[in-house]
């Protein structure tokens, strides 16, 4: 870990998910798979070992299991010319169904209309660890481009041998191979007539350079957008099967509660299926109203122990570390130089603590699943970012081999890292097994708030030292619980100590868009402003003085230009910035706030983000992600916080938990820095990290009040 994080953080898996057991088998061997596909051309992407280890959940948690499969994706061109792409990635609103189609269209020279993407079906698609960590664009996009490019070459080769001509004079264009020397052309489909060809990917196959992209690199509308604006698209919660029942689970009185007694007699008299299996109590009924009524009729007594609440949360986090048991998988601890000595000799020293509350993902579609048993074969349609992970959970829950479980993931109503687990899948499957009919379980909003998991809360201590000329000399950073994503500093500081302290979390916690990078950037970038003030330098000038990384400097400079940094301000107005590096992307965000001194109301008026994610595949898609990150980020920055006490969530409804609405909307401007010379990376997470510190710094600029806790102003600034 030096001052060059770009060079050293190649491919970053999602840390919190590494604890979950990863399945490694395919449902169908390659041979079977080709049979299933029928005639035509199949091109298979075989991963390099390092990538296979990561994308297939190998790497450090493999622990002697069989090697992960090495296949990343398939592409099939049928005799009818229809192109079908098989990938284990899933569509959750980030629009990869579109951007991956663009990639295939680009390399194969076919219209996007001719491409069907089969995604996240554990029976039909290659194993994939999950859709998270901004992995799709840097890995799957590349694999599909290579597969498509190889397919194109094979088709050209077929034409060459059919025409007995030199393949060099042939080109692929618009679903056909054309002879540049003659006047002939032939459709892909005709070349494949009656043939069954398979080819593993040639890794050396050259790709079209980003600068020459024709389809990729252009803004493209959501490929199946019409289905969404007409209500035709069937989300997981819209799935329906013949004879399907509706399930409802009886919930414990609090987290970690144990079941003392249960009386299901009344419910059983209502003509529903009642299941009591260990701590699980649930019902399945022909209508959802009857299921709700029957669940209410179950009389269960639970015993819960006293538990931590918000009041003592940060004290608790400091005192309950589990050092050496880094649940995030990194064991992050980094030292360089001599921090203690450098701190002593610094002209300016600063020590501050920053805190972050638990927040909820609130995907607008709550968890949902439909489960169906055919003898001992289980099929589940469910909304999840990890269909293969859920398959593993189901196999484990029901003590059956994974090849008896099929999980399908219809494009779902968002996740933001919040749907990595298969709770509803397991619940629906358990009920379906007893009911001997398909069962659907859709969580209520309250269930989603309570029984899902949260973005981790955290305490972050920062100590820093600088020379009087503004050169940073010492940096010590301790994160308790919130996580190690984005924990390292990209500023050039010779003496560093950075430690992530794992904690036994009082609430169930897990992944969230950008993970702890938001908390760590909030602390770091707030502290940078505080230190800039201590050395009496302009915050931008101070950052650039201590920043060598060119890509980061570029986004700070681009955002500053667009924002008009250095303008004079009026009373109540404040400007601030925050930025950094995460998931291989770079972002700088500048915010303008207005604080009403009388009412205490804080209003974010304008947000400018400059974002760079290598060569841009779908510019409008990237803009959409940057804007969305900033809008969603407003909530965590200003007002979102889970209130909890004694194992209960106190604000688990949308009337009690505030999320950003139209009226919270600032003017948002996005500057895209397109680097065609750098491989494309994801855009769903990184853009979020700059906003919270930018707002905190702007509030300080407006008021002189330094806020060090997220959310910054849940009730405005009046109470302060």
């Amino acid at each position: 870990m030096s001052g060059k994080p770009h060079a050293e953080l190649p491919l970053e898996p999602e840390r919190y998910e590494l604890r979950a057991a990863a399945p490694y088998r395919f449902d169908l061997g390659r041979r079977d798979f080709f049979k299933f596909l029928g005639a035509g051309l199949v091109v298979v992407s075989v991963l390099k070992p390092a990538l296979a280890a990561q994308e297939s959940g190998g790497g450090r948690q493999r622990r002697g299991d069989s090697l992960p499969n090495d296949i990343g994706a398939w592409l099939h061109i049928g005799e009818n010319g229809k192109i079908t792409v098989y990938t284990g990635k899933v569509e959750i609103g980030q629009d990869i169904r579109t951007s991956l189609s663009q990639a295939v269209s680009e390399e194969l020279h076919v219209s996007m209309d001719n491409i069907e993407m089969v995604m996240g079906d554990t029976r039909l698609t290659p194993f994939d660890m999950g859709t998270f960590g901004s992995r799709t664009t840097p890995t799957m996009n590349l694999q599909l481009r290579k597969v498509a490019s190889a397919a194109r070459d094979i088709l050209v080769g077929l034409a060459a041998s059919q025409w007995k001509t030199n393949p060099r004079q042939l080109i692929a264009v618009d679903g056909k191979v054309k002879d540049t020397a003659g006047n002939r052309s032939i459709e892909y489909a005709s070349l494949l007539n009656g043939q069954q060809l398979t080819q593993a990917l040639s890794a050396e196959d050259p790709l079209i350079p980003a600068a020459d992209w024709k389809v990729a690199g252009r803004s493209v509308q959501k490929i199946d957008g019409v289905d969404f604006v007409t209500g035709r698209h069937r989300y997981p919660s819209d799935q329906k099967l013949p004879d399907m029942l509706y399930g409802k689970v009886v919930r414990p009185s609090a987290f970690e509660a144990t079941l003392l007694s249960v009386d299901t007699q009344k419910a059983e008299q209502m003509g529903v299926t009642v299941v009591h299996d260990g701590n699980f109590i649930g019902v399945a009924a022909p209508t959802s109203q009857l299921a709700i009524a029957a669940a209410k009729a179950v009389h269960a007594e639970w015993k819960a122990e006293p538990q931590t609440s918000n009041r003592e949360l940060f004290d608790y986090l400091r005192k309950n570390t589990v050092e050496g048991q880094d649940v995030t998988g990194d064991g992050d601890r980094y030292e360089a130089g001599s921090v203690d000595a450098a701190m002593k000799s610094a002209d300016h020293r600063l020590q501050q603590t920053y805190t972050v509350q638990y927040i909820a993902h609130v995907p607008l579609e709550p968890r949902a699943a439909v489960a169906k048993w055919d003898d001992d074969q289980l099929t589940v349609w469910t909304g999840t970012q990890r269909p293969f992970g859920v398959r593993g959970q189901l196999a484990e829950a029901f003590h059956i081999p994974e090849d008896q479980v099929r999980v399908l993931m219809p494009d779902m109503g968002s996740g933001y890292g919040g749907k990595h687990t298969g709770e509803t899948a397991i619940e629906a499957a358990r009920l379906a097994r007893s009911a001997k009919r398909p069962v659907k379980v859709v969580w209520t909003r309250e269930e989603e708030f309570t029984w899902a998991y949260f973005r981790p809360a955290g305490v972050i201590d920062v100590m820093s030292g600088a020379r009087s000329d503004g050169t940073m000399t010492a940096w010590e950073f301790h994160n308790y619980n919130s996580g190690s994503a984005g924990i390292r500093t990209y500023y050039e500081i010779p003496n560093q100590r950075i430690i992530f302290h794992a904690v036994k979390s009082p609430l169930r916690q897990g992944s969230y868009r950008a993970l702890a990078a938001t908390a760590n950037h909030f602390a770091r970038e707030s502290h940078m402003d505080e230190l800039a003030q201590a050395v009496k330098q302009d915050p931008l000038e101070f950052r650039l003085k201590n920043l060598k990384d060119e890509r980061l400097r570029a986004v700070f400079e681009a955002a500053a230009r667009q924002f008009g940094w250095g303008r004079s301000k009026s009373a109540g107005q404040g400007f601030g910035m925050g930025g950094g590096y995460e998931k291989l992307g770079n972002v700088a965000t500048f915010a303008e706030v207005h604080v009403d001194r009388t009412s205490g109301e804080v209003k974010v008026l304008r947000v400018v983000s400059a974002f760079e994610c290598g060569a841009i595949v779908n510019p409008d898609g990237v803009r959409n992600q940057v804007e969305g990150s900033n809008v969603q980020g407003l909530g965590g920055a200003l007002f979102e916080a889970i209130q909890f006490e004694n194992g209960k969530i106190l604000n688990g409804r949308l009337s009690q938990y505030r999320v950003p609405r139209f009226s919270d909307l600032p003017a948002i401007e996005t500057v895209l820095v397109d680097r065609k010379d750098i491989p494309s990376v994801g855009a769903g997470e990184c853009p979020m990290i700059g906003l919270a510190p930018a707002i905190a710094n702007a509030i300080f600029d407006a008021t002189g009040t330094r806020l060090r806790a997220l959310p910054l102003a849940p009730d405005g600034l009046k109470s302060r």
Partner: protein, 164 residues
């Protein structure tokens, strides 16, 4: 249990259901009109928005027994065949969706807004739409889409030219 008669998207339906049941439940579960979504069950998110006699209503807190013979329009009833409503087309053109789960509710609210105010200002759009949540944060695009639809002279007329 009672037989409830409903007029939805210019079709008549008869459903045997408790009149206290939420209209949303009836649409989704009994009539398989799943375009209207459940998001919160308390009228806070707008994902379930439908038009009842042209006005935007949250179907998750509307009892089916209270609807009577009023005309219900859901997202499924907005396009004319393949021809999208101007607001639907504008959402596509403005790229005003990510996961799309809020989209049908957003579109129904926007249609109701444009019906009562064919050329709303930005702040009128924000005020009217504030009860609809987009968790993906596409609000700026939705505002843009509504402005586009207004310019195209949305009203209740379908968009010019065929939808895709």
């Amino acid at each position: 249990m009672a037989t409830i008669r409903l007029a939805i998207n210019q079709k008549s339906y008869a459903v045997d259901v408790d009149p206290q049941t939420a209209l949303l439940t009836v649409l989704r579960e009994y009539l398989d009109l799943t375009g209207s979504k459940y998001g919160c069950g308390e009228g806070q998110c707008g994902a379930c928005t439908v038009l009842i006699d042209g006005k935007a209503q949250r179907s998750c807190v509307t009892r089916v027994g209270s609807v009577g013979q009023k005309q219900v329009t859901t997202i499924e009833g907005l396009a004319h065949g393949a021809q999208l409503h101007a607001v639907q087309q504008a959402f596509l053109d403005a790229g005003a969706l990510q996961c799309g789960y809020c989209t049908s509710g957003m579109i129904m609210s926007a249609v109701a807004l444009l019906k009562q105010n064919p050329s709303p200002s930005e702040s009128q759009i924000v005020d009217f739409m504030d009860g609809n949540i987009c968790r993906c944060g596409t609000y700026p695009r939705i505002v843009n889409a509504i402005q586009k639809a207004a310019k195209a002279g949305s009203g209740s007329a379908p968009a010019k030219g065929a939808g895709r």
